[in-house]
Structures are given as C-alpha cells and as structure tokens.
Amino acid sequence: MATRHDTAAPPLKEGGAAPGRPPADAVPEADKRRRARLSRRWQRDMRWSPYAFVSPFFLLFLAFGLFPLIYTGWASLHTVEMTAPTDMEWAGLRNYTRIFDDDFFWNAAKNTLTIGIISTVPQLLMAMGIAHILNYKLRGSTFYRVMMLAPYATSIAAASLVFVLLFGRDYGMINWALNAVGFDNIDWQNDKWASQIAVSSIVIWRWTGYNALIYLAAMQAIPQDLYESAALDGANRWRQFIHVTLPSLRPTILFTVVVSTIGASQLFGEPLLFDANKGTSGGSQHQFQTLGLYLYEQGWVNQHLGRASAIAWTMFLILIVIGIVNYVISRRLRASS
C-alpha cells in the first residue's frame, strides 16, 4: 500500500517530501507511537469496514429473509394451526402427501401454469416489439417511455378493481365492444379460460412497459458495428433483428423470463380481487385459483399453517428447478455462441 497516509505525507516540520527524508529513528518517540496507533486503527478500518457496510443488510436479511424461509420448511413438516401457531406437532411429510392428494392443489398448480404462460408470453413479445420501435429515432421518445410505465405505478388493488368492471359480464366495457363487432357476451368471471385471460390481462397491462424498458436498455448497449457489418453482408432489417438483436439480447431475455416466471408463480392480489364473490377460492369453481391464493386459503381461511408452509416450499422447489434449467440454458447458449 503506497497510499498509507502515515507515510505518504510527512509532517512539514521534518522538511516535507521524499529525498531529504530523515531516518525513522530521528522521529520523537511520542510521535512514533501516535503514528503506530493511527496505523493500527487504519488497518482495522480497512479490514473491518467492508463488513460494517454489508452487515446491516445481512442482519435484516437473516431476520426477515433467510430465517423465515428455513422456518417455513421446518413448519411444513409439522401440524400447526393458526389458532396456536407455537403449538407444533411433528408430522413428517404428511402435509406434502396431503396437498399432493388434494385435487385443488393440482388445479391451482395447473391454473398458475396456464395463467403464467398466457400472461408472460404475450407480455414479453409485446415488450420486445415496443422496445424495438422505441429504439428508432423518435419524436417525443421520453413521453412514450413514461406513458408505457404508467401502469407500473398503479397498484395491484386499483388495477384489479378496474379490470373487474371492464370485464363485467352484463355491462362491462369489453363485452360491449365485443357486442359491437358482433360477438356474444363472454362470462369473464365464470368461464375457465375467459377468467384466466382476464386475470392475465391485468398482469400484462401492468408489466409490459416495464419489460419494454429493460429490453430497450439492452438494445442500446448493442454495438453499432454489428449492424453495419450485417448490412454490408446484405441483411435487411428483419434479418438484422433476427441475427444481431435477438442473439445479443439472450441474457436479458432469460433474465426477464425468470423474473416474470417468479412473478407469475406468486400471483395473489389479482385473482383475489378479481373474484366477484369476494372469496379466496379463485372463482366459484376454483377456475382461476392460483397457488398463491391456495396457500392463503389453506393458511388464513382454513387455518392450516403447516399445510400452507408445504405449499410455499413446493413453490420454492419448483422455482429452484426453473432457476437450474435457466442456468443450464444460459450456459449452453454461451458455449454455442
């Protein structure tokens, strides 16, 4: 360390900088001790301050992130009731076998999967298209970017309540528009696919603009030479998009897929508030009950915290599998490119 402050700038009275520097033993004893002390304090500071800077985050994380996560796993192996949360009785894997035997669990898992797909796929495709357009030279591009992001500022609660009205069966705006172009009314509440599409549309509405901005940022980081050489090779705009833009965006696309998948796996507020009967079962026939809602129903309505924990950990394990698959895919892609 050439920059140690105790050696870098000797006191003025000793004659200043390097060449004429007096030997160390010419320095008075007290001064030397003071310097040694400063130096020790300095080293302590250098050594421990990084930990001081990261420790508040990790302490909070341990208390409110890691501990609850592990404790959920522990609780999932017990019978715990909401009425007496500290009263835990060992149950082994019974909670897991019970939920796996429960048709509503599989129904919720299937719904989460289908709602996840019909919300994530169109959302990311549209986001990609918008990002591509926003990447051209545009008049008022900032205006469009901010407008695209307005839904992101809207809360789940407000958005869901509005969409309930828009998707009303008898007087909703969307059925009115469908009527106007000659279609019959659709029962967005009770029809399985229609209700899932309606719930997905809330998600799509809120997150498309956000993802578009992320794609746009990644597009702007692609070096222009790649496009120039592609143009020299005779590639038209579409081929440039396929052969230059998309490959360069692979890591970003994977990132948004993972983030959206995690978001979709924990859908809760949208299906909860979309239910006209104000229940927790995701519609009269559980037609849009997600795993998040099923977890809530088991834990807070039926008061089986142990079973709810097992649902939570099952979701966690599914996400780990998704994470591993994502990691393998990105390794493959990197190796092949």
Binding site: V54, Y227, G299
Partner: protein, 300 residues
C-alpha cells in the same frame, strides 16, 4: 476534504462519453416510420385507458355504470364519490400510514443499499464473492415463501395490526444492493477513493464525502422505485393489517371492493385516490424513473 469532491464531475462526463455516440445505438440512426407512431399511440392509449376510465367511472353513479353502453365521458359525481370513498375507507389515515411506511422503507433501503453496494463494488474483503452470490440469490426468492413464519414472528412480538409489522420486513432489498453496486462500479473511479485515503480519510468519511455525492442520482432513483414498490405492496400488509386499525392505502382500497353491497363508483373513486399520488410522482419524475430502470437493467 472538499478537494476530493471535485473530481466527481469529470467522472460523470467520462461515463457519458463512453455511452454517448448516438449513432452507435442499434437502429438509433434510423427514423421511425408512421406505422411506428401508430403502434406507439395505440399502446399509449392502452396503458392510459384503464386509468382514465377509473376517473370516468368514479365520476358517475352506480346505476349509470350498470347500463350499456358504458359511460365514455365524465359525469358530475366525481367529488361527491371521492369524498364518500375517502371517509368510508378511512383514506386519510391510510395515506398518512402508507406515506410513513413507504418513506421509512425507501430511505432505509437507499442508505443500507448504498453502503453495502459500495463495499461490493469497490472494497476487497474475504467472502465478498460468496456474499454477492447470496444477494443475487435472494432476488430470486419470492416473498410469499417467508410469509407464514413472518406472520408467526409478528404475532409473537405482538406487532399484528401495527405499522412496524409492515416496515421491518420491507427493509430488505437485495435489488437495492445490486442496483447500487452496478451504479458505483462505473460511476465511482477508484482514484477518487485512493485520493481520499491519501488525505487520511477513514472509511466512513469516504462514504460520506465521496460515495454519497457520487451516488446521489442513483440514490434518488432507487428511493423512488422503492417508494412506489412499498406504496403498492399488497400481500403482506393485507395479511398483517387485517383487523381494524391502521391499514395501508392498498388494503383500504381493496376493502372498499370487498364490502357486502359494493358500490362500483365508490370503489373506482377509492382506486383513483389510491393511485393518484403515485401518478403525480410519475408525472414529475417519470423521466428519472425510466432512466433508473434502464440503468439497472444493463449489466455493468
């Protein structure tokens, strides 16, 4: 110490110079055609329509909403409905509560994320790689997984229905640490830290006089993002603030929709009130927020 502040300016220019040449942006040299503008206009309408219609529905009465065609323009009941919704949902208290919760969370997250992000970006220490991996891993863990033990903890501590039950779990933001790290890697050159060290500055002084000034733009953006996120948070406040007492805006608004005889125009008035403050923040700081999201998206 003030001398260490000045070099911050040229840094900004430097990072900008690297990013600047507009012609080097993909497609950036080409003007968009009319079709592009039409598509953008459609998406803009699509993104604003539900918001505008919330206001239209809030300005009508429920009978009018239960007719076809649905109303396309404002009626005269807006202020009456807003007032009733405000009183029914106890929104005044909810606003104060939510502002407090979101404010405390945002400020704490920004502070903790900046110092931790600085350590990860610029300091060498044992276990740095492993710790960073944990931070990134945390970003992947959905909050729902922790909800049950958190609920038990809160119940055990006797915090149920109190705002601190909402605040404490919301202080952990791995995203914030990651975001600040990415920013500081490029925005804070090592030479400035070295220079401050030569001047004899301790680590805390470096943070106070060098890191905070350099990180100010990113801190502002992160603060706004976290404020929006906490303001809109639904699941956790909904679970711990179930009883009467001190709801957040989102819980209060959702409560309007879950009454036994819901009045649609009142619900819409509540939804409008719950969203309005954030839309105003967005109208003022939209550009910065957009810039922040885009900055956080690119890997450093």
């Amino acid at each position: 110490m003030t001398t260490t502040l000045t070099p911050v300016e040229p840094t900004d220019q430097k990072t900008q110079r690297v990013r600047r040449p507009k012609s080097a942006r993909a497609g950036g040299q080409m003007h968009a055609g009319p079709i592009a503008y039409v598509i953008l206009a459609l998406f803009t309408i699509g993104s604003l329509f539900p918001l505008v219609w919330t206001a239209i529905a809030a300005s009508r009465d429920t009978q009018r909403l239960a007719q076809t065609p649905p109303p396309f323009w404002f009626g005269s009941n807006l202020f009456d409905n807003l007032e009733i919704a405000w009183n029914d949902a106890n929104l005044g208290e909810a606003f104060i509560n939510t502002t407090f919760v979101a404010g405390v969370s945002a400020v704490t997250i920004v502070f903790l994320s900046t110092i931790a992000g600085f350590a990860f970006a610029k300091l060498r220490f044992k276990g740095r790689g492993a710790m960073m991996l944990i931070v990134i891993g945390t970003m992947m863990v959905p909050p729902q997984l922790s909800v049950i033990p958190l609920y038990m903890m809160v119940a055990e501590l006797g915090w149920t229905d109190q705002l601190k039950a909402v605040i404490f779990p919301s202080l952990v933001s791995a995203f914030g640490v990651f975001f600040m790290r990415q920013y500081l890697i490029q925005a804070l050159p090592d030479e400035i830290i070295e220079a401050a060290r030569v001047d004899g500055a301790s680590s805390w002084r470096v943070v106070w006089h060098v890191v905070f000034p350099a990180a100010r733009p990113a801190m502002a953006v992160l603060g706004m993002l976290m404020f929006v996120q906490t303001w809109n948070d639904f699941l956790w406040p909904f679970l711990v603030l179930t009883q009467t007492g001190s709801p957040t805006v989102q819980v209060a608004v959702a409560g309007l929709g879950r009454g036994f005889t819901p009045d649609q125009s009142l619900i819409m008035a509540g939804a409008l009130l719950g969203t309005l403050p954030l839309l105003i923040v967005f109208a003022i700081f939209g550009k910065q927020i957009v810039g922040g999201i885009m900055q956080g998206a690119v890997k450093g």
